[in-house]
Homo-oligomer: 331 residues x 2
């Protein structure tokens, strides 16, 4: 029989609390304590903010730390729980998955109490924190090998009412991109578990590469906008500036919108995220590296669309996704 | 007795040749063939251009591929050998070191014929290609967790004449930064082996994060400038534009210019590369993630200097370098 995960403090305590979510030990390692911040101002929205779900996406933990700094001055009602780093083992290793068990935390929700450490983290979050919130913001980035605009995303949700509320919440971030993302690898994601409990879940994404001041400011502004929309803080929501633009658009993308590498090689991007491309426009070039006689291969847009994500800086195998396009969401 | 590495074609053949540098097999794996391009226009400079020394620095291989495309039209004399990917095993794994033996190719030169695969690559390059060149350009990047301006770099060289020629060659790239980099981890680097043979060796660097069209254009322009300076091609060398600036500066940096993390955590940059900072200016903030009670720690410039490199997007242990500053080179 496993021990149960627990919080070291009472979430009902008024005002600011700091403590830990304790993940019981297992056969693979001992107990793990995740720092948790909570600010309880009584009646109102109940929000859970998480970062560090993947260990090489560190804008989320930085924005979560900033939040903890200004929230005590700003929050007027409700309860906010902030867990800046969901998976410290992956963060310390700058690794998407947990090195100890090789698992992707965002594919094994709701977790298992008697599983390996990643499954125990998911179990603790699902059982201890998730029931205390009606809305969840999980702060991701797109990782080091992709370029991606600052975005609030969701997957399609079967329940049309929850879907509509989720898209409205995502749009309230006022980030350059709101995205409904249909893909085939959603089993075990944190959002599925939360949505099954009727909660509004928004996953923020952006990238790529290094963490920069400009991108952090956009990310933080988006989170602040969402707090305003929820009524947790007062203020005026504003579109942050991204590449000289102050606006946002809502797009959808499907598995058929994935552009794939025709051969192994290095992908060189020839467009930028949020570029509009027409059928036949050059999106990038695949350079085979195993032969200098092999010509580099142009990868072109299959139809008029908007470039959503561009792979860069990595060698790809054949038939791997190197770019993703999208189109305006039909509501 | 090991087999000897060899080229599948004769470098003395006039005009364009394409073939492979064959690395003999060993106990760890079989033979490896690295694609090599050569363009022989007779008398003149003898240049070797290499990329993909580290597997997660892929701008070099892309620029090398571009070079192969325009060089046949442009080169007027001399001989250029291009090896776009020195370490295909690392490139395919998007890994700095070779996964098979864990070795950093740029720390085990001149290699060993009877060593593991990384040592055999170094041995083949040192014995087969290096003697055929008087000048070497090794095209690196700064990897995914650093921001670094486009730069042509060298380490300090004991021989003052070779040092002066190397700095002149590096400055001929006209990149935003020419850097003399003194650090304590140079044993086994490719440049040391080349310099010991009296060759001019320039290591280009830049970063970070994703591979983008703007940065590739700067990198390619720098290489082109250096080809013009060598007299291999005709044309006018021009400073590429980097952050609205069209100029270059020559700096030096020493081990004492490394700013280190005072604690484990996530480093948030608060300055940009090539910013001038005064003593006490904020360079970045270290956010401890193991406790939310621990205050974030400001990291400030120890003296007036120029920011050279900024870590970003990675969790760091205590006492790890998070930023590097520099000062104008005293010639």
């Amino acid at each position: 029989m496993s021990e149960a995960p627990y919080l070291t403090f009472d979430l009902d305590t008024p005002g600011v609390s700091r403590g830990h979510l304790v993940i019981p030990g297992g056969t693979d390692r001992g107990e793990l304590s995740l720092p948790v911040f909570s600010l309880n101002k009584g009646e109102g929205p109940r929000l859970l903010v998480t970062g560090g779900n993947h260990g090489n996406e560190l804008e989320g933990p930085i924005v979560a730390r900033r939040l903890i700094k200004w929230l005590p001055e700003a929050q007027t009602c409700g309860r906010v729980i902030v867990l800046p780093v969901l998976n410290p083992l992956a963060v310390e290793a700058w690794s998407r998955n947990t090195p100890l068990d090789g698992l992707n935390l965002n594919r094994i929700f709701p977790g298992r109490a008697d599983g390996s450490v990643t499954e125990r983290i998911a179990d603790a979050v699902s059982r201890v924190l998730l029931p205390m919130a009606d809305t969840v913001f999980d702060l991701h980035s797109f990782g080091p090998t992709w370029d991606f605009p600052p975005a609030a995303t969701t997957h399609p949700i079967a329940d049309p009412d929850l879907m509509a509320r989720t898209v409205r919440m995502a749009e309230a971030f006022k980030l350059p991109l709101t995205l409904v993302w249909q893909h085939n690898d959603t089993a075990g994601m944190f959002d599925i578990t939360a949505q099954n409990q009727g909660k509004v879940f928004v996953c923020t994404e952006f990238g790529g590469g290094t963490v920069g001041a400009d991108n952090l400011a956009i990310y933080e502004a988006g989170v602040r906008n969402a707090f305003i929309a929820l009524g947790l803080i007062e203020g005026k929501a504003e579109y942050p500036t991204f590449r000289q633009q102050k606006s946002g658009q809502t797009l959808e993308t499907r598995p058929s919108d994935e552009l794939k590498s025709p051969a192994p090689g290095i992908f060189e991007p020839r467009c930028s995220v949020l570029d509009e491309v027409k059928q036949g426009d050059l999106v990038g070039i695949l350079h085979p590296m195993d032969s200098l006689s092999a010509e580099s291969i142009d990868i072109r847009a299959p139809e008029t669309s908007i470039v959503l994500a561009v792979a860069s800086g990595a060698h790809v195998e054949a038939d791997k996704v190197v770019a993703l396009v999208a189109r305006p969401l039909k509501k």
